[in-house]
């Protein structure tokens, strides 16, 4: 089971199609009061507007405003979601203006996830049918209004480019002219959607609607919010998670020009100032003693050891096919391996920030969030106010990657703002952002497999240990020791494996918070499974592509992407000494993908990723340019993790602090990335994360091909690849 199926299983707020449309229609008019707009500010809906649901508002001036239930964080959702609505509404993209949705779980929950959140690559998967229906519903009502005015059968009218046309008489009415009357029409029970061959927008490369503001500096992110009178604060939190403030001498900080106030919390200190320069200078001048608390001595090795130990016990069975133990006992060859993946920070380019104005009986928040309703609920709790007394303005997001599914930054900002008269923008330094993140979990996996005389796998066993992020973030979805995220990519493999046994041992590490990180469960599982399949091919003495191919008889979509990547990458052709190609294959987030990475390993052990060929079948492609961009993006993100990504603890403290110690792939290291898309009429699969999970094993397998060294622990350790002088 995958995360997108969890709503139907675990959640009763999943919305039926009728509830989705009708519930939305009921709230039509009053939606726009508290929105912060990316492209300008509109007035509230007026009585002459046509707002048939929570996503569309057409003013009598003809302006079409679309409310975006998913937030833009680079993945192109503010272009592809409007494409779905506009396709059926029959408007062109130049005619629409966009607004961020306010917090409202009932109206804006992702139908697959059951909560209002942008994550798990499921915006398009959730929106694909419902938001086309939203557009079609509005169009039917506009056509009905025109037909009524003309006194003709609505079947003789058609809609196009924001107009209703009566071909027989050549009469036309613009949507704006029909807004008031359309609002009086009955909401249709059932609307039919276009057949794919009639699509005008879907499947064509659309220009990003958010691009112009992002090249001229006018795009507004959360960190750019400037409510009148806003003060700027920055903070330092207990360097050890769970520690407490022991003593504070803030005399020198108070003397810094521009510093207005020092806010002391149980486990943090904030400096409030006229500008961030003064706040940072004040922060540096603080003399603080901390009580480090119970995790004072914690080191990463301890956590790794505990996880390794856990894989020797037993866990919850996540999937069982056949009898793996029996098959293993009778196998001709046995292969065993242990894998480890490190903690990772998100390091979004926009550091954590949140602006809050706490008033007597309400609280106003400016933030860029992937989960705005969660922010509202948790901020309300922190402020001691009812949820509806918290107004949240969402913004464009300067990198999410899962970090902004969390509301810890908003809670912290509320705690500080309660002590400040007027609005305060709390901006984390980069050091604070990296050292007080919520991290991709550390994982430890123990695998064994048995091969028959032909090298074919007859048994596969995998027991892995790590935390369940879902258990904290969406508790109802953690059930009987399992959750759909932790296991995605470890079970339901593309390969034909007759005896298969996978167990998950939940172990929550002490002293370090964990969270979703781009490509979530698969960021761990795909590295492990695709490295291990590669080990099996090597143990069988067979080519890595040919070996996988033999296990894909029952999976033609997976085989097609594998064949395509092999062909386009020149698989099998000679490479210079020290270079190698690695292949990896996955079906996660509803999309099939294969990658071939080409690496070069120098004598000192430095790894350069030269070229990556990706082939994918993600079902129907809505915006092909976005698909390509997301793959390029995912590959760079994953390659960064493979080559550099590691958060370590020493004495309970995160050792990395800025981009010097937590390195990013840069322009001079970026590989060429070729993307090949398989045409498909299946429903869309997820796109935002697939590239990330797959590139890590592709690189590790390429390093094996280049050097004969199998790296079972990420990130790449160059010392293991050094050649003797």
């Amino acid at each position: 089971m995958t995360l997108d199926h969890m709503a139907s299983r675990f959640n009763d707020i999943n919305l039926s199609r009728r509830g989705f449309l009708a519930g939305a229609a009921g709230a039509g008019g009053g939606l726009v009061l508290s929105l912060s707009l990316p492209f300008g500010r509109s007035d509230a809906a007026t009585s002459g507007d046509f707002a048939p649901n929570a996503f569309i508002r057409i003013g009598s001036d003809g302006q079409v405003v679309l409310t975006m239930p998913y937030v833009e964080m680079g993945q192109g959702t503010y272009t592809s979601i409007p494409m779905l609505i506009a396709e059926e509404l029959e408007v062109n993209l130049k005619q629409v203006r966009l607004e961020h949705a306010p917090p409202n779980e009932k109206l804006y929950a992702n139908p697959l996830l059951g909560v209002q959140a942008t994550g798990n690559s499921n915006a398009m998967r959730g929106a694909w049918k419902p938001l086309r229906e939203v557009g079609a519903t509005a169009r039917v009502m506009l056509v009905a209004a025109a037909a009524k005015r003309w006194g003709v059968d609505s079947k003789t009218c058609r809609a196009r480019d924001g107009e209703v046309i009566h071909d027989a008489t050549g009469r036309r009415l613009k949507y704006g002219e029909l807004a008031g009357e359309a609002a009086q029409m009955a909401v249709p029970e059932n609307v039919s959607l276009k057949r794919p061959e009639a699509f005008k927008l879907i499947g064509t490369p659309a220009k990003r609607l958010d691009a112009p503001g992002k090249v001229n500096g006018t795009a507004r992110y959360g960190i750019d919010a400037r409510p009148p009178g806003v003060k700027i604060a920055t903070l330092t939190q207990s360097p050890v998670f769970g520690g407490r403030l022991k003593s504070l001498d803030d005399a020198a900080a108070r003397a810094v020009k521009g510093v207005r106030q020092i806010v002391q919390l149980d486990d943090a200190v904030a400096v409030v100032a006229d500008h961030m320069g003064a706040a940072k200078k004040g922060l540096e001048a603080l003399k603080i003693e901390w009580d480090d608390g119970p995790h004072a001595g914690l080191a990463t090795a301890q956590i790794a050891q505990e996880l390794e130990q856990a894989t020797l016990g037993s866990g919850t069975v996540a999937q069982k096919v056949g009898d793996a133990d029996k098959a293993l006992a009778g196998a001709a060859t046995k292969v065993e391996a242990k894998y480890q993946l490190p903690f990772l920070a998100h390091a979004t380019m926009e550091p954590m920030n949140c602006t809050v104005h706490v008033r007597k009986d309400e609280c106003e928040i400016w933030i860029g969030s992937q989960a705005v309703a969660r922010v509202q609920a948790m901020a309300a709790k922190a402020a001691g106010l009812p949820t509806e007394k918290v107004i949240v303005h969402n913004h464009l997001i300067g990198g999410g990657f899962g970090r902004r599914l969390e509301a810890d930054g908003a809670v912290r900002a509320v705690e500080i703002a309660k002590h400040v008269d007027g609005p305060v923008k709390v901006v984390w330094t980069r050091e604070e952002d990296i050292q007080h993140g919520m991290y991709r979990p550390y994982w430890f996996d123990r695998l064994s497999a048995g091969l028959d005389a032909q090298g074919r796998p007859v048994a596969w066993k995998n027991r892995f240990a790590g935390p369940s992020v879902i258990a904290r973030w969406l508790p109802p979805a953690f059930k009987d020791g399992l959750d759909p995220d932790s296991t995605e990519g470890a079970i339901d493999l593309v390969y034909d494996l007759p005896n298969f046994h996978v167990e998950f041992v939940r172990v929550e590490p002490p002293g370090i918070p964990t969270a979703f990180w781009r490509s979530v469960g698969p960021s761990h599982n795909v590295f492990v499974t695709e490295s291990f399949v590669d080990e099996l091919s090597s143990a069988a003495g067979q080519d890595a592509v040919a070996y996988r191919r033999k296990l894909l008889d029952r999976n033609p979509r997976a085989r097609a992407v594998l064949d395509l990547a092999a062909e386009k990458s020149g698989w099998g052709q000679a490479l210079p000494k020290g270079s190698g190609r690695g292949v990896a294959l996955q079906f996660v987030f509803g999309s099939y993908m294969a990658q071939v990475a080409e690496v070069e390993v120098s004598r000192d052990g430095t790894v350069r990723v030269r070229r990556v060929v990706c082939s994918m079948d993600c079902g129907t492609v809505v915006n092909p340019d976005t698909v390509q961009a997301q793959l390029q993006s995912g590959v760079i993100f994953g390659a960064t993790a493979a080559l550099y990504g590691e958060i370590t603890l020493k004495d309970g403290r995160v050792e990395q602090s800025n981009f010097d110690s937590y390195q990013m792939l840069r322009m001079n290291e970026a590989p060429a990335i070729d993307v090949h898309i398989v045409k498909s009429a299946e429903p869309p699969g997820g796109m935002g994360e697939t590239g990330t999970s797959l590139i890590v094993p592709a690189i590790a397998n390429a390093i094996f091909a280049a050097t004969g060294k199998r790296l079972r622990k990420m990130p790449v350790d160059s010392n293991l690849l050094k050649q003797p002088a």
Binding site: I636, F659, M667
Partner: protein, 156 residues
């Protein structure tokens, strides 16, 4: 003591400590939020502006070091020939994703193009490797710079 700095063609009197980084004067004092904060240590390039045409990390540039030099930010770089070509190439080539680093990328790229109308791949690496993009738009940034350089060739 007030400091006067020339930003985007206008003089601004600023009453902050002289060692205050230019970035915070732009963003918090003057409200010019197009220039972004990424690291505070000249490691990521998000805060890049031009000082007398040279790409400079504003997060480590004290305001009292600027003197009479001219500061140019993302808000007006489109008024320069190179800036306009880079911005157009960014749009034509659909470079942006989250977009947060792109002000800095565009400032670095336009300074490169102004001083070197036909940069090689190595020139691009040199000029752009100080700018981190977490969305990984590097492939398109490189192509867009080359696209802008081609328009240099056509335009003479």
């Amino acid at each position: 003591m007030a400091i006067t700095i020339n930003i985007n063609g206008s003089g601004h009197d600023i009453d902050v400590d002289g060692d205050t980084p230019l970035l915070w004067v732009l963003r918090d004092v003057l409200g010019m939020t197009g220039t972004k904060f990424g690291c505070g240590a000249a490691l990521c390039g998000a805060c890049t502006v031009h000082i007398d045409g040279v790409a400079t990390r504003s997060c480590v540039t004290p305001v009292d070091s600027i003197g009479k030099s001219a500061v140019t930010t993302i808000e007006v770089v489109g008024a320069t020939d190179a800036g306009a070509k880079i911005q157009k190439a960014w749009l034509d080539h659909e470079v942006v994703q989250c977009g947060y680093c792109q002000s800095g990328q565009i400032m670095s790229a336009s300074a490169l193009l102004a001083s070197n109308p036909h940069p090689t791949d190595a020139d691009i690496d040199d000029a752009m490797s100080g700018n981190i993009c977490r969305c990984g738009t590097y492939v398109r940034i490189r192509e867009a710079i080359k696209l802008a350089a081609q328009s240099n060739a056509k335009g003479g």
